[in-house]
């Protein structure tokens, strides 16, 4: 048999590696760069690109009407993300470039700078080392659709575009209080952002063009242009209302900028659902399995299946079941790994619940090479759990399961013969919950990128939260 045609088992490490290092995104970006720049030496270019390793640096446009706080937000973001700030003034007042001097001459004649000159200045600035390695934040560029199109065609494309909005009246009023510190260009406000040092206060100047009429004129211009710019950046846009305190706007912008967009990378979900008993793990796992076709692995169920099938492992487990003792971790891991390494789990993905319950089990899971790539902790308050579990009932004759609050039995006859599972009493439930909460903090620390979901809502809402957690990429930490 030819070796190439024999069925090959793809070792589990490969998908995990690809996912962990974002290989797909890396290849995507490299291919994009190749297509945009079309270098004569593609391999050298690719090597340089990989060495630079700047896929994750910030590339942000900040757009907004005058007096919306663009400059403030841009400066704060720069400081926070350690990127370089580019504004139209920045570009013009650069004394080192011939283009900038030309632009300065035009600016001093009180004329608008032609778009192609602006683009050249931008390209020149962005080819500098600090912009390449640390990223850039563009403040107030592009202003018109023509500029936006030119920037797009030249290959400069941001990863995030933040647009600030506010009602016009607010903006006009706000603009009247604008003050500028001439030494470093920082923008202050008489009401909202007054500096604390008196020397800075004395230095502040009133900038030009903040009268009402000017503001109105500029606003009209802005509104004309922005509606034509926004469709150019469909998927990376976020509109933030700047009618809130500065800090709120800043934090919204920061969280958006640090989030990643959905990528097209192939992704096999390996989901771990953790939570106290009664938080709805089995239900969510069943929903996930049904919708996405991934394999639902419940640890307890798996062990019972082993015992029932009378396999060798099952015979090992049976005495523990009979004595009602905890099955030792080694056996559980063996059973789990044999199930999770089957072809269907590798192919479709799996959702695991009921394991691990403490830190040792989690480390065993890690050493067996079965680390999940999404971990969800379902938070449900104690009372909800008690309510959910203690009111469960079963009908012995039909086998139908009811809940006295959420799914009451239709007739009185059925209700009379309902029976409760002995493990659903309040004391037993409390014991189980305590056991979970004893170990939960250690487990949370062990896994990184844990997603917390409020499990106290109705199941489909919780399901949607879990879905969004699975589909959106995990947040990456920005290095300071």
């Amino acid at each position: 048999m030819d070796a190439t045609t024999a069925p090959h088992r793809i070792p589990v490490e490969m998908p995990r590696y690809g996912e962990h290092h974002h290989i797909f995104e890396m290849m995507q970006i490299m291919l994009q760069e190749l297509l945009i720049h079309q270098p004569k030496e593609p391999i050298q270019f690719m090597l340089e690109h990989l060495e630079r390793d700047n896929d994750m640096v910030p590339r942000i446009f900040i757009l907004g009407p005058p007096a919306s706080g663009k400059t403030t937000i841009a400066m704060w973001l720069c400081k926070h993300l350690n990127a370089s700030l580019i504004t139209a003034e920045n570009l013009i007042w650069n004394k080192l470039s011939g283009l900038a001097i030309k632009a300065l001459q035009i600016y001093e004649k009180e004329e608008a700078i032609p778009d192609f000159l602006l683009l050249k200045l931008l390209l020149e600035r962005m080819s500098k080392e600090e912009c390449i390695s640390k990223g850039w934040i563009l403040d107030g560029i592009p202003e018109t659709r023509e500029q936006a199109l030119m920037i797009q065609t030249s290959g400069i494309s941001p990863r995030h575009v933040v647009v600030l909005t506010a009602p016009d009246t607010v903006l006009i009023e706000r603009n009247l209080g604008k003050r500028i510190d001439p030494s470093n260009g920082e923008v202050y406000h008489t009401t909202f952002d007054w500096p604390s040092e008196p020397e800075v206060q004395n230095r502040l100047k009133v900038p030009l063009g903040i009268s009402e009429e000017e503001t109105v004129k500029r606003l009209m211009e802005y509104h004309r242009n922005i509606t034509r710019i926004l469709p150019s950046y469909p998927k990376i846009l976020k509109i933030i209302s700047s009618d809130q305190p500065c800090v709120d706007v800043f934090y919204q912008a920061l969280t958006y900028v640090q989030s990643q967009h959905r990528s097209n990378a192939p992704f096999t979900p390996k989901i771990l659902l953790c939570g106290p008993t009664g938080s709805g793990k089995s239900l969510q796992a069943a929903l996930l399995a049904q919708k996405y076709g991934i394999i639902n692995v419940c640890c307890g169920q798996l062990l019972k299946e082993c015992v029932a099938s009378n396999s060798r492992i099952g015979e090992l487990i049976q005495p523990y079941f009979q004595k009602k003792m905890q099955v030792p971790d080694q056996i559980i891991i063996k059973v789990l790994s044999s199930r999770l390494k089957k072809q269907d789990c590798i192919c479709y993905g799996w959702v695991l619940h009921g394991f691990p319950q403490d830190l040792d089990q989690a480390t065993l899971l890690n050493s067996a090479g079965l680390m999940p790539n999404r971990v969800f902790f379902l938070n449900v308050p104690y009372d909800s759990v008690i309510e959910r579990l203690t009111l469960r009932r079963t009908d012995p004759t039909t086998g139908e399961r009811y809940h006295l609050m959420y799914k009451p039995p239709p007739t009185m006859e059925i209700q009379e013969r309902l029976m409760q599972h002995p493990g659903d009493t309040e004391e037993k439930v409390k014991v189980k919950i305590d056991f979970f909460y004893r170990n939960s903090s250690l487990l949370e620390d062990f896994f990184d990128n844990v997603i917390y979901v409020n499990g106290d809502q109705d199941p489909y809402t919780v399901f949607e939260y879990i879905e969004s957690g699975i589909i959106m990429p995990l947040p990456t930490k920005v290095s300071q």
């Binding site: 070796a3 070792p11 998908p15 995507q28 994009q32 192939p266």
Partner: protein, 404 residues
Amino acid sequence: MTSTIADSSPRPPGTYTFASRPRPLNCQRRRYRDYYGSSDEEPIRYGNIMYDRRVIRGNTYALHTYPPTSQPDPVELQRQQEAKRKALARKRAREHLRPRSPEPVEGRKHADVQTELYLEELADRIIEVDMECQTDAFLDRPPSPLFIPAKTGRDVATQILEGELFDFDIEVKPMLEVLVGKTIEQSLLEVMEEEELAELQMQQQQFEELRNLELAEVQRLEEQERRHQEEKEHRRQQQLEVLHKQNETSKKIAARAYAKMYLADLLPSVFSNLRDKGYFYDPVERDIEVGFLPWLMHEVDKTIEYNMLGRIVLDMLIREVVETRLNMFEQLGAKQSEVLPDENDKEREESLTTGAEQFIEGSQRSSQRDSQWDSQGGSLRYDSLDSAFTNQRESFERGASFDP
């Protein structure tokens, strides 16, 4: 010549020592018979040193020295005689007191018998022997030989002849038997031993041969075994290599297949991404947007400008006409007022001016509509005819600043 040697060894003061180098004695015999010219030396007499009175014999520590004068001292003589008499007396006393052996018994005689180890012949005659001596050349003094006095007397021996003590043949038999028997026994034993040894040797040899054969066999088998092992090891290594290669190939293929699947969506997603970013744009749309529409707008602008320009020119014409008419009417009115002074002039002027104003208003309203295209967009206000006209003129000038 005496030559004294310096005395180097420490001796107590007062002792006298004398040492001299050996020197040859003067030969007392003349060397040559007639020796002319040898009257210097005194003829040395030949003499026996034994009978030489000059040689001191006996003890030398109490010498009888003659006084320097030959005459003896009478006191000295007397003393010497007395000393003699005392000595004699002492001797007689001693003899008296000396213990002697008892007198011999009658008829016997004492005889002196020598009881020493060797008998000695006592003779009065002094035996004289001439001896010469020649010193050897500084030989070491040999050790003194043991003193063995010469044998004197006669040896007497006896002899026991054959057959006097015992009969040899008879006596010897048992001994001989024993001897011979022992000898034969011993020789038999020795022979047996030898035979046994020979036997052993043979056995050993046989055994050695067998062993050699077996050893050879063993070696051959060992060699075979070793070759087998090597072969096995070699085959095993080969097999391992093959397996390893297979493994690697399988892994590589798996990696390739996986990478292919993983990046299957790469190209479409890259292109769709670039399209979203606007790098790939629909050229027709872009061309329309960038090239056609601005031109269109510009042309529209131009047309409207021309329109406006036309209206302004029209307005100017109308203004000219109205002005001249007004002037004419004014002139007419002035002439008439000169002839008849009346208040109708004012009315007529007012009516004329209002009529003119209305006329101008109407034309200005139409031009106002057109001046919406004016980029300055200022509002036109007019109080009087003149300001209206000046505004018209300004608006015309402003309009003329458009670059068609």
